[in-house]
């Protein structure tokens, strides 16, 4: 045990010196990782900007399926007039089609809904349609999408349209008040009142209470803001789908009259094979449906992003190559200067593989440390540049530059850096293990 501890101590002591030497020789990695982090942050910011401003809410393989009598470019109007509905036959037919990998249904509550909220002492009420869609639709679109469910007795979760946040911020801006981010408004409390049919009867075990007031029946519920989204261009709030089905059933039983309580507005579907989209569109048109897709714009945007990626990755590739060559040279120098030590340890009984592994591990440790420094340096430089860039380039002031601070990017930076450093050390390590030992110890 003492022997083992002493060996570890001397090993670390010896490696510490080598690592310090390697630090100077591997300095180039820092620039690569810093550049990479800045590039990733810029790319993500621009990509998000394109997604939000050019592509709307659809992915390249996503389509919207609407009734044929719906005006595809005038869906704002459709939200208020509850007209263009999908028939049950259309819904069944679309769900049975095998052209799609996923199909999500947008439904709308048939009852009138009032949303009440209070901010800065001002209380306001507005009539707002309530929509719902399967929570899986929000996967990769909003954080914690899998928690978007209705729990009876708890405040109803609500996803508000993103433009309401923009409008609110405009109002705050003109009144000299600080603006809100999405995170600031998460959990913001509000109330909704849903008007239902007359003559309610008590529903045993139900946590939704129907009240009668001035000849009208209504339900009051607490609401909390779950997130904001622009996935649907309709004016209205999105609530969990299980709430609408739960509420409709309660309302139906309470009134004693059959009424589904909601209707189908449209589908969001992911096509299995984007090349077969024209055939799919033909099938849908035969069902009396129309298709809205961002594919044309998405294709062009993707081509532009591909060109930017190819250009940037070429630069990164060249930088990595140059760094590997420069670190390789520096490592060869280290091997030359440490050849005496390597030879001596080899003569005293150290195996070739141990020398190679030690050399590579030391290089990987140095690389990983540079990766961590590069990650923070890149983020710091990017944040600094993002703050000042709009004053230099007013044309891109609309782009929200967000630094890439997350675990995945951190791991990529550290891993890539360690890999580059270790790769650069591989050949010198093999040279180190094959030195002409007696020549080296005689020098």
């Amino acid at each position: 045990m003492v022997h083992l501890l002493r060996s570890i101590y001397y090993g670390l002591r010896s490696s510490f010196k080598s690592i310090i030497t390697s630090f100077f020789s591997s300095f180039g990695i820092l620039f690569i990782i810093t550049f990479l982090i800045i590039y990733l942050s810029f790319r993500t910011s621009i990509s998000d900007f394109i997604d939000e401003n050019l592509l709307g809410s659809l992915e390249i393989d996503e389509i919207e399926i609407l009734p044929i009598n719906e005006k595809a470019d005038n869906v704002y109007a459709a939200s208020s007039r509850q007209g263009a509905k999908l028939t049950i036959d259309q819904v069944k037919a679309v769900r049975e089609m095998d052209d799609f990998s996923e199909v999500f249904t947008l439904i709308m509550l048939d009852y009138r809904v009032r949303l009440r909220g209070e901010m800065f002492g001002n209380r306001s009420t507005m009539i707002l349609p309530l929509f719902a869609i399967e929570p899986e639709f929000f996967k990769n679109k909003i954080p914690k999408w899998d928690q978007f469910y209705y729990k009876p007795g708890r405040p109803l979760k609500l996803i508000a349209p993103k433009f309401t946040l923009v409008m609110l911020n405009n109002y705050l801006y003109f009144n000299g008040l600080p603006q809100f981010k999405i995170e600031d408004l998460k959990g913001f409390p509000m109330e909704i009142q849903i008007e239902t049919l007359k003559s309610p009867r008590p529903f045993p075990g139900a946590k939704i209470e129907f009240k009668e007031d001035k000849g009208k029946t209504h339900t009051d519920l607490d609401v909390s803001v779950f997130s904001f989204t622009n996935v649907t261009e309709r004016i209205g709030a999105i609530v969990p789908m299980d709430f609408i089905t739960y509420f409709s059933k309660r309302a139906e039983v309470s009134s004693g009259r059959w009424k589904r309580g909601y209707h189908y507005l449209q589908f969001y579907a992911k096509v299995k094979d984007i090349k077969k989209l024209p055939e799919t569109v033909d099938k849908l048109e035969k069902l009396g449906l129309q298709v809205k897709s961002d594919r044309g714009i998405a294709d062009k945007a993707n081509q532009v992003m591909k060109i930017i990626d190819a250009f940037s990755l070429t630069i990164v590739g060249i930088l990595i190559l140059l760094t590997i060559v420069s670190i390789f040279n520096a490592n060869l120098n280290v091997v030359y200067h440490m050849s005496h030590k390597f030879s001596l340890t080899r003569i005293l009984g150290v195996t070739k593989i141990r020398i190679i592994i030690t050399f590579i591990v030391e290089a990987a440790i140095v690389g990983a440390i540079y990766g961590i420094i590069g990650y923070y340096a890149g983020n710091y430089l990017f944040s600094y540049a993002a703050e000042s860039i709009s004053s230099f380039l007013p044309d891109i002031a609309g782009i929200e530059f967000v630094a890439q601070r997350n675990r995945e990017v951190f791991m990529i930076a550290m891993g890539l850096s360690a890999l580059v450093s270790a790769s650069s050390a591989l050949l010198p390590a093999i040279f180190a293990s094959n030195i002409n030992l007696f020549k080296a110890v005689r020098r």
Binding site: H3, R6, K17, L344, G349, V350, K352, L437
Partner: protein, 279 residues
């Protein structure tokens, strides 16, 4: 079977041939080494003496031939096994000492134990060696502050810390003054005699040659036996390898000098006998 085991040499080199490109370095080199003996190899600079040490230690592979250690051909082993063989069974001493300046004398002595997974009580052994080699006063010093003789004694301590059977020395006195060289020479004799170590020394130093049991000369790629002290080769000091724990601290010169004198006398007697026989 038992008889065979007794006849097995500690180290046996058979028909070694080595070429660097088209240049023949060693051809049909044969010799064996027994415990407690000092074997000296002389020859012109660049004739392949050090290369031969490299082959014996398993660091170099010849084009042909065999190197048996306790009856096993080390050239058939892989790098890991040969490294372990070197760590456990071979001690090295160099002309330029090859101590690491980052470490103290004590730490330099301990260095080979770091690469030997079976090393036990390394500190204790190192302290005993420091006593034995009169290095106590300088054990915490770094090599750059020490004289050549002191450095070489540290290198010797480093060479024997793992209790190896064979010690290979490459020009061990080549960088020392006469007095230090004499001391080192006496130390080799003492270690060989008291601790049953086998020495293979590449040297030009006539004192070491005179005190050796076997003297080989490497000339024109061939190894030729020059002298042989029969009584030592036939009767090694002890059959079992000694442990470092057996090394007893001893006085510096008187014992060593008497050893040296007795060896010289033995050799002279042997020479006289052979001369009489020739007559």
């Amino acid at each position: 079977m038992k008889k065979n085991k007794q006849n097995i040499s500690l180290l046996k080199v058979e028909n070694i041939k080595l070429k660097f490109g088209s240049r023949m370095i060693l051809s049909d080199v044969n010799f064996s080494v027994e415990p407690g003996t000092i074997t000296v190899i002389t020859g012109k600079s660049g004739c392949g003496k050090t290369t031969l040490l490299g082959i014996i230690s398993g660091l170099l592979k010849p084009n042909d031939g065999k190197v048996y250690f306790k009856g096993k051909n080390i050239l058939r082993w892989g790098d890991i096994r040969r490294s372990f063989y070197r760590s456990k069974n071979i001690g090295f001493i160099f002309q330029f000492f090859n101590l690491l300046n980052d470490y103290s004398a004590f730490e330099n002595i301990l260095l080979p134990t770091m690469f030997n997974p079976f090393a036990r009580n390394a500190s204790k052994k190192a302290k005993e060696l420091i006593e034995y080699l009169n290095l106590k006063a300088i054990s915490s010093n770094h090599p750059e502050t020490l004289s050549g003789g002191e450095r070489q004694r540290i290198a010797i301590a480093r060479a024997v810390i793992n209790n190896p059977d064979i010690i290979l020395a490459d020009e061990p006195t080549g960088n020392l003054d006469d007095e230090s060289a004499e001391d080192i020479n006496n130390l080799f004799i003492k270690l060989a005699k008291e601790n049953n170590k086998a020495f293979v020394i590449v040297t030009h130093d006539h004192r070491i040659v005179e005190n050796s049991d076997f003297h080989y000369h490497l000339s024109d790629t061939a190894l030729v036996l020059q002298t042989k002290t029969k009584n030592r080769s036939k009767k090694p000091a002890a059959k079992k390898p000694s442990s470092i724990a057996k090394i007893k601290p001893a006085g510096k010169t008187s014992q060593n000098k008497s050893d040296s004198t007795s060896r010289k006398n033995t050799k002279k007697a042997a020479k006289k006998t052979s001369a009489k026989k020739t007559k």
